[in-house]
Every structure is written in structure tokens, then in C-alpha cells.
């Protein structure tokens, strides 16, 4: 167990679609489980990374302060950090709010929007604050690899991880490179 490759995953400002797609590797997950153990991940419900993770897979962009903390924990804990999917790579759909000022977004959602009752912008210190823009993760920490796609297909995950595990420089053939 101890010499298995330790993989952690998380979703920041994402939709978990990349995680779902990862699970689409279907029965190949058994093969993967032979050599890999999952650390912090929505799959395991482990809350924090072990300090010696080998691979961190990050879905989603950085939209709030909590995302920054999570991303930093992953960077500190993982030897290899991977941006997974369109949102992690360029902010993706959540980043489409970047062209509307944050104040306008919050006012629309919590003050002036249709059906809003007890209008107020949440101020509970437990809640993470939003960044003025949604950023790709490589603008916040150093990223080693990028897996494009919305989501990247199961085959992308499979190709990338099997390359890495086999000690090959990961590469994606033409048919696996997609931004949609």
C-alpha cells in the first residue's frame, strides 16, 4: 500500500463534471486502484492532503479565497499538480462573470434579483469571499500539466495517468485534445 502512487483531487470553481468524466474510465478504475491510492478527494471524503501526495488533479478555476487556500495546500502537498479541464485552465464558464463587475453580480444575486427576500449580501465570516475575477489556477500557483476539455474525456485521464505512472512524458494525441 505505501508504495502506491498517491493521488489527490479537488474541484474549485468547477461543476464536478471533470470528476464525473474521470469516473467514466469505468472498470479501468480497478486497474488503476492496483497502483494508485486516493488521498484527499471527493471520492474518499478525506479533508486534507497528506504531505507526500504524488499527483494532484485540480478541477475548476479560482473564484474565492477558499479556492486559493485549497490550491496552495495541493501545491504544497503534491509533487505534480495538474490543471484538469477548461475551468482550471482558463477560468471556463464561471469566468464569464469577469466582465460584469463583482458588485453588480452580488447585487443581482442578493439584493435586486427576482424573488430575493431579506435582501443582504452574506457577511458570515465562515463564508469565503469572492475574488473580483475568476482566475485560471496557473495564475495562482505553478502548474505542471494541463488536461484540456469540458470535461476532458475519460480516455484523457487514462492516457495521462498511465503515461505518468509508467514513467513516460505524458502526451495527448490529436483526437484527445478538445476544449469543449
Amino acid at each position: 500500500m505505501t508504495n502506491k502512487i498517491r493521488v489527490a483531487t479537488t474541484s474549485l470553481a468547477g461543476c464536478f463534471g471533470c470528476h464525473m468524466s474521470f469516473l467514466d474510465i469505468d472498470e479501468r478504475i480497478l486497474e488503476l486502484a492496483e497502483v494508485v491510492v486516493f488521498d484527499r478527494s471527493p471520492i474518499t471524503d478525506i479533508e486534507h492532503c497528506s504531505i507526500d501526495c504524488d499527483i494532484g488533479l485540480i478541477e475548476g478555476g479560482v473564484c474565492n479565497s477558499e479556492n486559493v487556500h485549497t490550491l496552495r495546500e495541493f501545491r504544497k502537498s503534491c509533487k505534480i499538480l495538474v490543471a484538469v479541464g477548461a475551468c482550471a485552465i482558463n477560468g471556463g464558464l464561471p469566468a464569464m462573470r469577469n466582465f460584469i463587475p463583482l458588485e453588480e453580480c452580488l447585487n443581482e444575486a442578493y439584493i435586486n434579483g427576482m424573488g430575493v427576500e431579506n435582501a443582504q449580501i452574506p457577511s458570515d465570516p465562515e463564508l469565503p469571499l469572492l475574488l473580483d475575477k475568476v482566475r485560471p489556477i496557473h495564475e495562482v500557483v505553478k502548474i505542471d500539466y494541463f488536461l484540456p476539455g469540458c470535461p476532458p474525456s475519460a480516455d484523457v485521464f487514462w492516457k495521462f495517468l498511465t503515461d505518468l505512472i509508467a514513467g513516460r512524458e505524458p502526451s495527448l494525441p490529436y483526437e484527445l485534445v478538445h476544449y469543449d
Binding site: A86, I143, Y174, V177
Partner: protein, 239 residues
């Protein structure tokens, strides 16, 4: 005997007056490009088609083919630079492929796929750009404009109109339309104009046609841009 140049060691015939790009595509050699289109005056601005001609960088779409040229095209360093230039186009604008109805049919995306571009590399510019949905049949999304001027040239050279122009300087360059209001609806553009169908990205779109072909079954989902481009452009060059 026909005059020839060599591209990556391959001997290629050309006729006087042809550019390196024309000679190459006639011979079935793909040189990556975005602002070039065989029907219109070459522009030479995107710089994806930069090739080495006798050791010197030249834009294949504007540089005349001349006897004895040794051209390097499909080389590792050139393709690495092409990838970076493509990444520049991505960070300059706001390209969210998953939400763009041009995805799969987009030449910017297809060139990026062809060059195996996996990320944007550079920091994004987060430029604020507008939409112009005023026209009943045509939409302009300035977020996706790469200033290739194909719409400008198509409108001028093919449609006999002056609907589009590029204005501004440096990173503030932007596409403008020829109406007093600045809106597309007040120009003489129609959906049958060549200019409405020439955009290599999703910046100019025909409305109400978005998802007639589902994602996954679009042009570049199954074919690489080199083949698509050669198939369509060889014919045009021969005209």
C-alpha cells in the same frame, strides 16, 4: 522546366506571382494560418505561417515564391513559436470554447489542436469586450475577434461593401462597423454576405443556426485542420 522551391526538403513547383503559401497548398503542403484565405488579398498579420526562407523568417502568405528558395516549415522550433502565437491570441481575447457555438468548427481552436496546445501559457488580459446582437440575422461577439481582417477583406473585396474595419492601436485594436450608430443592424450587411461566413473564430455568427450540428460531429472533431484546409483551399487557388 517548371520553377521550384523546396519545402522541408520536398521539391515544389510554382508559377511566377505565387506566394510560398499558394505554391505549398497547391502541392499539398499545409502551412498553419489564420488570417490567410485564398480568395482574398493576403494580409500577413497573424504570423502563424512564418516559415524560414533561406534562413530568414518570412510570412508564407505574403512572401513570393522564388527559384531556389529553401523553405523550412514543419520544424519543431517553428511549431513551438506558432503554438505561442496561438496562445497569445487566446489570452488576448476571451475564448471560452465550451460556451461558444463555433466550437468544433473554429479554425483558431483547430489550429491550437493541430499544434497540440494544451494551455494558454500566458496570463490572460481580461479585456472587456462587447457583443453586438443588434442585427436580426448576424451576431458579433468581440470577445473572440483575432483581428485577422477576413471580414474586412470579404466585405470590401467580395461583397463590394465596407461593413468592417479594424480601429485603434496596439493591444487596444478592435473591430468596428460602418454605421453612424456603430451597430451592425444599421449597416448594409446581410446574412448572405461572404463577410458573414468568413470568420475563422466565433466572432461573427449567423443567428438561429447554432446547434444544427451537434458538438462531437463538427468539422474538426474528426479531421485535422491541415487536411480540411488543403481540401478546400487547393480548389480556390486553382480558380
Amino acid at each position: 522546366m517548371a520553377k521550384t522551391i523546396t519545402i522541408d526538403g520536398l521539391s515544389i513547383p510554382f508559377e511566377d506571382g505565387q506566394t510560398i503559401m499558394q505554391a505549398a497548398s497547391d502541392a499539398g503542403v499545409y502551412i498553419p494560418h489564420l488570417c490567410h484565405h485564398p480568395e482574398f488579398t493576403p494580409h500577413g498579420s497573424c504570423k502563424l505561417c512564418t516559415v524560414k526562407v533561406n534562413g530568414r523568417n518570412c510570412s508564407a502568405c505574403t512572401f513570393p515564391a522564388m527559384e531556389g528558395q529553401e523553405v523550412i516549415n514543419n520544424a519543431k522550433d517553428l511549431n513551438a513559436d506558432r503554438q505561442k502565437i496561438t496562445q497569445m491570441l487566446f489570452v488576448e481575447g476571451n475564448h471560452f470554447c465550451p460556451s461558444c457555438e463555433k466550437t468544433g468548427n473554429c479554425q483558431l481552436q483547430a489550429v491550437a489542436y493541430h499544434l497540440n496546445m494544451l494551455d494558454d501559457h500566458f496570463p490572460l488580459f481580461y479585456q472587456h469586450r462587447e457583443l453586438d446582437a443588434s442585427h436580426t440575422d448576424i451576431l458579433i461577439d468581440h470577445n473572440r475577434c483575432i483581428f485577422c481582417t477576413l471580414c474586412v477583406r470579404a466585405s470590401h473585396e467580395h461583397d463590394g461593401k465596407e461593413v468592417f474595419a479594424i480601429s485603434g492601436r496596439g493591444i487596444n485594436k478592435h473591430l468596428i462597423v460602418n454605421s453612424e450608430s456603430g451597430l451592425l443592424k444599421d449597416t448594409n450587411m446581410t446574412a448572405s454576405d461572404k463577410a458573414a461566413h468568413i470568420c475563422p473564430t466565433g466572432a461573427i455568427l449567423i443567428k438561429h443556426t447554432a446547434y444544427q450540428v451537434p458538438i462531437g460531429e463538427r468539422i474538426y472533431d474528426h479531421q485535422q485542420i491541415d487536411q480540411v484546409s488543403l481540401n478546400s483551399e487547393q480548389v480556390d487557388h486553382d480558380k
